[in-house]
Subunit: 231 residues, 2 copies
DNA sequence: ACATTTGATATGTACTACATAAATACAATA
DNA sequence: TATTGTATTTATGTAGTACATATCAAATGT
């Protein structure tokens, strides 16, 4: 039996450190006690004693929760529970360089999916003012091209504006975080492909067209990217 | 001048601890050195000395990176860089109870957006076998209802299967993580609303209908949720 | 050549010590 | 009385030491 087979069957034993255990323990503790944001937590010493570990270990666990924004600490005042920024932790990890190819591809598709699903909420919330701003962005795009950098920035501005028009702050931030990865995957292609439907076309649809037309237009706009997908 | 005005003008000073700084420093270090997964890192002592902080602080920072899956540590062997599970950290924070209402609403909309955007990739990858499995799930739903719990589980199974059919592992996991929040927001409503298009209808469209028909069907299916959205 | 022992090394954990910030109480002053 | 200054206490932030443990590598023995 080869070593690889063994690894596959057994796998490495995930040896958890005390910090891992304490982190989990604390998380469950917070949940069980149903603390609300702003509530005070026991002191580090109390936690250490209660858990039977050194204050060191407790601090490592707390450091993690602090990074996630689940708790805030103030000197003397102690620690208080707070509402985490759910995308904050995401942001830290989202670097094309450290993510494996398969996941990169998945995220690429995730963004395409979002883009295609936006129409309904977009049509619910779009305002005249927003459309005008979007139009300004679309028109600032010189058809003869001002170089690669400008084109990419314009692309980002346009699609970013669309997300912003949904009025969904989380969605906007999320897509902003996905951008580097999207850009990275695209950059792997040699020849930049451009869809038949331009930004200006999309703006015009937004002005006069229906949701379905917009969705169809977006699909055409993103066609080169969809064509890239593997079956 | 009122206290609130003062807070608005000045705001609290965000005091960063050494662990915060070191975490950032290490992250940039890893990036700059362009380490690849598997590469060995300097020891804790070396890092502490180089940064001019105690090993304690370094460990708190490393503990965070370890939680994110960016590094793995083995005794004596030292630390190695690894590819983080991008959704892992997300999972930790995604609890309806600790997320503020506005973000909950955003995530609710995010899932609706995904659902509406799935059609293209779904039609690219769907197989006959998958559709049969989906049909089995849809048919297991007794129209007279077997109680709330069953209905919810069936709902989850059906939509989960659709995500799985896209062949996008990240997307599937992502939606699984969004489920509790989706469920939570729905549970706030008194009367459960059901769309005109049923699961079985959707399966039939998948069998014979076009992408656009599917999207329209999904919209009808999710209509009650869309109606809930605020303009 | 192979098995065993030994030593060195990096992480994991514990403990101590002290600086620092902040809340509280209390005294002092206008 | 209200504000300001001072002292005390307390919890976090940081440093440092010590040691257990696992593991790699080299030395040793058969």
């Amino acid at each position: 039996m080869s070593k690889n087979d063994l690894i596959k069957d057994l796998g490495p034993i995930a040896q958890r450190t005390m910090a891992d255990v304490v982190e989990k323990e604390l998380r469950e503790y917070l949940k069980k006690k149903s603390f609300k944001p702003g509530d005070a937590l026991p002191s580090e010493n109390e936690l250490a004693e209660a858990l039977g570990v050194s204050r060191n270990v407790v601090r490592e666990a707390l450091s993690r929760l602090r990074m996630l924004g689940m708790i805030e600490t103030k000197k003397r005042r102690g620690m208080i529970l707070s509402t985490p920024d759910i995308l904050g932790s995401f942001e830290r990890v989202l670097d094309p360089l450290i993510i494996d190819d398969s996941t990169l591809q998945d995220i690429f598709e995730l963004r395409l999916t979002l883009e295609m699903g936006l129409a309904d909420i977009l049509y619910l919330r779009k305002t005249k003012k927003d459309i005008e701003e979007l139009e300004a962005i679309a028109k600032s795009q010189d058809p003869r091209g001002k170089g690669q950098a400008f084109r990419i920035n314009n692309e980002i501005a346009f699609h970013g504006k669309i997300y912003q028009m949904t009025g969904n702050e989380t969605l906007l931030r999320f897509q902003n975080m996905l951008l580097p990865i999207f850009g990275y995957v695209i950059s792997l292609e040699k020849v930049p492909q451009i869809g038949k439907v331009s930004h200006i076309d999309l703006v015009n649809i937004l002005k006069n067209g229906s949701k379905e037309e917009f969705r169809q237009g977006m699909l055409e706009h993103l066609k080169p990217h969809f064509n890239r997908l593997k079956k």
